[in-house]
Symmetry: C2
Subunit: 133 residues, 2 copies
DNA sequence: AGAACCTTCGCATAACTATGGTAAGGTTTG
DNA sequence: CAAACCTTACCATAGTTATGCGAAGGTTCT
């Protein structure tokens, strides 16, 4: 079998996920490895790095796979991203209105940057790490 | 009690949500109404509109409250947004895999603002309509 | 005062998420 | 060939999400 890519168990070891989870993660569409002609999943350097980063992401910011899955959906569905973005945008802009009981003062997040629709964000040439590859 | 803002039950009726859900939605931080001096929740035009839009959003794109909640988190936590954005960015590219400094690389993608706000439709003066207010 | 609201707290639950197993059956390779 | 992998499929479960309902106790309005 091709050397340069790890099988699921090997990948599991070096990434810290269980083989079971790697299959689950594939199901969610977050990291889909290639397959050998006989159907074995083959994790290359890119996938491995991605899996580690994913792990890091979930741990560092108490985020869940489903959350990242949603972000992925937004990245792929511009319309969805627009809709969500618009919804999020609204609250900030709300001049004088009701509820002025003082206390409910919104923190002025003047910096509601938005995140990402990297979809076509063309020019980012960002390389990946390698593995026992 | 102040007129111009609806109490939870009235708000529930005009938005289609149940009072229970309005409390839940408040818990998630998605729509937090003001309060009367005695503690009653007061939903103003903005909140009402927001609740309807939210409903529309969930229905139109099979999205869940927790998903929007996550988007909200990203909007408020730039660091989180950057991390997720960076992670999402990686997969698309397939240069030729050079490799080196690995993960510290994307750290530079600090400028990947993104996610679609309904942005460009600039003057999308989305006015809020009135209620029995 | 009393009806009709509102509040928080807690119980209950169906559906889903995140994981772990196990079984039946191919694939690789020593 | 047989051990050691891999695959899909299905069972199981702790935890979370999304909802509803009811209790105990303030608030409003008529």
């Amino acid at each position: 079998m091709e050397r340069g890519a790890l099988t699921i168990q090997e990948a599991a070891q070096t990434t810290g996920w269980s083989a079971r989870m790697l299959r689950y993660i594939e199901e969610t569409g977050l990291v889909v490895p290639g397959r050998s002609p006989s159907g074995y999943r083959l994790y290359g350097p890119a996938e491995l790095q991605r899996l580690r980063t994913l792990r890091h992401l979930l741990e560092e910011f108490d985020v869940e796979l489903s959350d990242v899955g949603f972000a992925l959906r937004m990245q792929r569905d511009q319309e969805l991203a627009d809709a969500v973005g618009a919804w999020l945008l609204a609250p900030a802009i709300r001049p004088g209105e009701v509820s002025d009981s003082g206390w409910l003062a919104y923190e002025q997040d003047k910096h509601l940057q938005l995140l990402a629709a990297a979809g076509r964000t063309r020019p980012r040439h960002h390389d990946i790490e390698e593995e026992t590859a």
